[in-house]
């Protein structure tokens, strides 16, 4: 069995927290450049220019692209032939977050109890999704997720008879409601199928796929394209101040579901959609 020390994991997580927050990924950057050319509103075009400049400043100065450096969402795929040594895995990940958010001068945005609301002051706990996979590697993806766009997300248990049309209607309604609050242009993560909690997980997982990669299933890929086109006729535009570019991308993930169910979750994300991956 291959051994991986928890210290290595801690280091990796800490580095990912900083890098994800400083450097906008290539797919989003390219999409912003392209969108600027397509935008029909002059104000919208100016806004997209500022958004691109902002990402450049952040990257150059190694400061956060957005002040909401988010909840640290961690996807960790652990090969079943890996033996983790040297301590507690969960603690290592949380320590990595603690370290990354402190050393990177990232904002600490987590409150300890959702009702009492006292800040934990180190941005822990992060939200960790563990997956056991084949092989002897560990793949960690860190996706800081801002609250403004997260708050505009929604889940609905549709009826199977609602079908494609019902799903698309719900996605469009959710985006329309999000309007300017979620800092458009948006990235829209959609989870279809599974059950209640699986749909939400799929929607989050959809957001860590680069927006220039489509779902491998043909009918889902087509739905992604169709939805993006429809979203970009809503008129919301950059920052909700009117225009064509309301979203940069729509990513959909699907999963088998119960004969009685059609769960749909829409995880709204913004132009600062962040994710960074490392393989140990």
């Amino acid at each position: 069995m291959r051994e991986v020390h928890v210290k290595e994991i801690e280091q990796a997580v800490s580095k990912l927290c900083m890098e994800a927050n400083f450097h906008l990924s290539k797919d989003i950057k390219e999409s912003l450049e392209k969108s600027r050319e397509e935008e029909i509103s002059p104000l919208g075009e100016n806004i997209l220019e500022d958004i691109i400049e902002n990402a450049n400043i952040a990257s150059k100065k190694e400061i956060p692209i957005c002040q909401d450096t988010g909840t640290a969402v961690v996807f960790i795929e652990i090969g079943q032939d890996v033996h983790i040594i040297g301590g507690d895995l969960e603690e290592a990940i949380q320590n990595g977050i603690r370290k990354g958010y402190s050393e990177g001068f990232l904002r600490k945005s987590i409150v300890e109890d959702p009702l009492i609301r006292v800040n934990t002051k180190d941005n822990t706990p992060g939200i960790i999704h563990y997956l056991i996979v084949k092989g002897d590697k560990i793949k960690i993806t860190l996706a800081p997720k801002g609250g403004g766009s997260e708050n505009m997300s929604a889940l609905k248990m549709l009826k199977p008879a609602d079908g494609v049309e019902g799903v698309e209607k719900f996605v469009l309604e959710t985006v329309d409601k999000a309007g300017p609050n979620a800092c458009p242009p948006l990235v829209v993560g959609v989870g279809i199928g599974g059950n209640f909690e699986m749909a939400a997980f799929l929607a989050k997982k959809a957001l860590i796929r680069p927006i220039d990669k489509s779902n491998p299933k043909k009918h889902i890929k087509e739905m992604e394209e169709r939805l993006l086109n429809k979203i970009n006729t809503l008129g919301i535009g950059p920052q909700g101040l009117g225009g064509k570019i309301t979203a940069l991308g729509v990513n959909i993930e699907v999963f088998p579901t119960h004969i009685a169910s059609l769960p749909v979750a829409v995880n709204i994300s913004c132009h600062v959609t962040r994710h960074k991956t490392i393989v140990l």
């Binding site: 509103s41 958004i51 909401d68 904002r107 600490k108 609050n181 008129g235 919301i236 101040l241 064509k244």
Partner: protein, 187 residues
């Protein structure tokens, strides 16, 4: 094309600003978001004074990142204004003249803005690094224990904002979305 405006906002300037104007603000602004608003309202309800004199001032809804060495402030883009809506009319009654944030405002906020002649500006959400460049000085002036949610006094220079709701209640979100929706669906 942008209007340069120095703070505090004078009444004739406020009356002159129209939804859609691009503005560069220079001068003093105060930060405040959820927790600070909650505390300010609690103070008002107890009949106490606010920790800062808000009369004639501008509040920026922001929770900045910590400043790196040699920097004045960390990234500092706007947060969603709607969460402050329940508190805002009472603060406007105290003489607040401008707000900077992102996203829609409630009917009661807009009514109170009309009554008290105040402006709602938006800054680009998610442009925290660019906006931090326009902040020349920052100090905590109240509620230090709230961390990123404390009230800071900021000195800004050419801070870029857009008049999104003016003091007559004209709302750029409504007018522009409708306009572009129509345009995009004609094609």
């Amino acid at each position: 094309m942008e209007k340069r405006i120095s703070l505090p906002l004078k009444e004739d300037v406020i009356l002159d600003l129209k939804a859609g104007d691009k503005v560069l603000l220079s001068g003093t602004i105060y930060t405040g978001r959820d927790a600070a608003h909650k505390r300010m309202i609690e103070a008002l309800n107890k009949g106490e004074d606010l920790p800062i004199d808000i009369n004639g001032q501008v509040i920026y809804y922001v929770g900045p990142c910590p400043a790196k060495e040699n920097e004045v402030i960390g990234s500092c883009g706007p947060t969603t204004s709607g969460r402050m809506d329940v508190y805002t009319p009472a603060i406007l009654e105290q003489g607040l003249k401008g707000m900077i944030g992102k996203g829609e405002r409630s009917k009661s906020v807009i009514e109170s803005m009309k009554k008290n002649k105040a402006i709602y500006f938006t800054a680009i959400g998610g442009a925290g690094a660019l906006l931090a460049d326009r902040v020349k000085a920052a100090e905590v002036v109240a509620y230090n224990d709230l961390g990123a949610e404390a009230i800071y006094k900021l000195e800004v220079e050419d801070f870029p904002v857009i008049v999104t709701i003016d003091c007559e209640g004209n709302n750029l979100y409504d007018t522009q979305k409708e306009r572009y929706k129509e345009l995009l669906n004609q094609k």
